[in-house]
């Protein structure tokens, strides 16, 4: 050996795991509705029970099954958000981008989605947004059927009413 070589102390060997996702009864119904372009949630079959979306089959607070399916609006309210300045590996979206905790009208829990067609500096808690869907022929069993949410020209929702709007966008 004529030249000195640096001692190799570390090699990177990432492990890729491919797995099948078994949705289970409640998410399967949710995903089947999503394929038709509809957002749904579930609640315990009793008056005033909170609506969960995406549903996982039981109410996390009580442990009881959420048997009743509820259709939701694709309009939502910003409960909170962050502006992300670092890229997501395998995702083409360019930072900075807004990831928001959104509550769909008719649901009582937030989910996370992207906001776009907005000035990041104008995004705020209580802001009204609506889903921008992919073209219908691309719909799959996936929340990615919604590309992002964009702000709409509706008055802000007061903080104490976020997460409490009915499917019509009015207070319950």
């Amino acid at each position: 050996m004529s030249e000195e070589q640096e001692v190799v102390t570390v090699v990177k060997s990432p492990i890729y795991l491919k797995y099948n996702f078994t949705a289970g009864a409640a998410p399967a119904r949710f995903l089947a509705q999503l394929k038709k372009g509809k957002l749904t949630g579930q609640r315990r079959a009793e008056p005033g029970a909170p609506v969960y979306s995406p549903p996982r089959g039981s109410c996390p607070a009580s442990g009881r099954p959420t048997e009743q399916e509820v259709e939701l609006s694709d309009k939502a309210t910003v409960q909170s958000f962050t502006i992300v300045y670092i890229p997501i590996p395998g995702n083409a979206i360019e930072p900075p981008f807004v990831v928001a905790n959104l509550v769909a009208d008719g649901a009582n829990i937030s989910f996370i989605h992207l906001m776009s067609e907005c000035d990041n500096a104008d995004v705020h808690i209580g802001q009204r947004v609506q889903a921008i869907w992919k073209p219908e022929e691309e719909w799959d069993y996936s929340m990615d059927n919604i590309r992002y949410f964009k702000p709409i020209d509706e008055p802000d929702v007061p903080v104490e009413k976020i997460g409490k709007l009915s499917v019509t966008g009015q207070e319950d």
Binding site: P60, A61, I83, Y85, I88, L114, Y141, D144
Partner: protein
Amino acid sequence: MANLAAVVGVGQTKYTTKRQDVSIAGLVREAAVNALQDADLGWDDIDAVILGKAPDMFEGVIMPEVYLTDALGCNGKPMIRVHTAGSVGGSTAIVAASHVQSGTFRRVLTVSFEKQSESNAMWALSNPQPFSTHLNAGAGGYFAPIIREYIRRSNAPKDVGIKVAVKDRLHGARNPLAHLQKPDITMQEVEESFMLWDPIRFLEACPSSDGACAMVIANEELADKAAKQPAWIRGVAMRSEPTTFAGRDEVNPQAGRDCAADVYKQAGITDPRKDLDCAEVYVPFSWYEPMWLENLGFAPIGEGWKLTMEGATSLDEGGDIPWNCSGGVLSSNAIGASGMIRFAEAARQVRGDAGDHQVEGAKLALGHAYGGGAQFFAMWVVGSEKP
């Protein structure tokens, strides 16, 4: 009634970005040997080993406790593994304490670790599922909106997070084991560090560290004969709640409030700010200091940030209730170990063994850990005096 138990030995590694000179086994053994030396004990003096770490998929080593038995000298002895996400170091210490308090074992070794240089914690936490969009940017992306909501509710000034980031690094500069050594850090430097997940800046987030922490916990009879001052365990509590449920208060989780109330009751604490001498609290993002000051009852709701800004939690400013004198998670974050480091540093304080970050005359200290989506909580109170 539980029997008395006490910490009679504490051992840690130096926290750093990459410990390439040791394997995971070497890392945990180093902390364990340090704890045994501190306790003036040998492997034969240990009845069982209780081990904790964050999820296995971080390093991709599944059930590491099985292969670590050799390194931890426990072939033929009971080995117990604990899993509670980021709070695991705290929960592991509590499980270890419980096995002594119950009389099952007389003296146990408890160890926790993370080797972040051999893992990718951020993306291990963000595996895609079809019912949600794949946007989860690790823990920071998850906690940033909760911090934003705290700022809205409390109307706290923008620089509270910056102040905590500076304070904990100045504390860390007193602790030779701390990963980040930034004795000259300034508010301006933190403010100008780049934004990661608005409102969390780079210097307002914890580093990624390799490291391990260990303790020896003994029953009353053995602790009375301990080589050094024991840290008597005055109360232990764990609580959890689901990640999401309608109406959940993510800023001020009920599980945290209930856990604190339980541990204070056991330790006879009525006013934590007054009764405790210091606290080691899990603050991985700077804004979690004011949030936990409120959740843990050190300040009224909406006013935690005032304690921070007044310097009440700062050793350097002579505060009355110093938080994270070791530098905290903001100075060292070996995830699985981070909770146990809080518990062990609380013990070091009441043993009078905390070196340059010692709170003078500390008699009663809180150790705290949280994990998951701020849904798992573990806390203990340790004291210099036998209850």
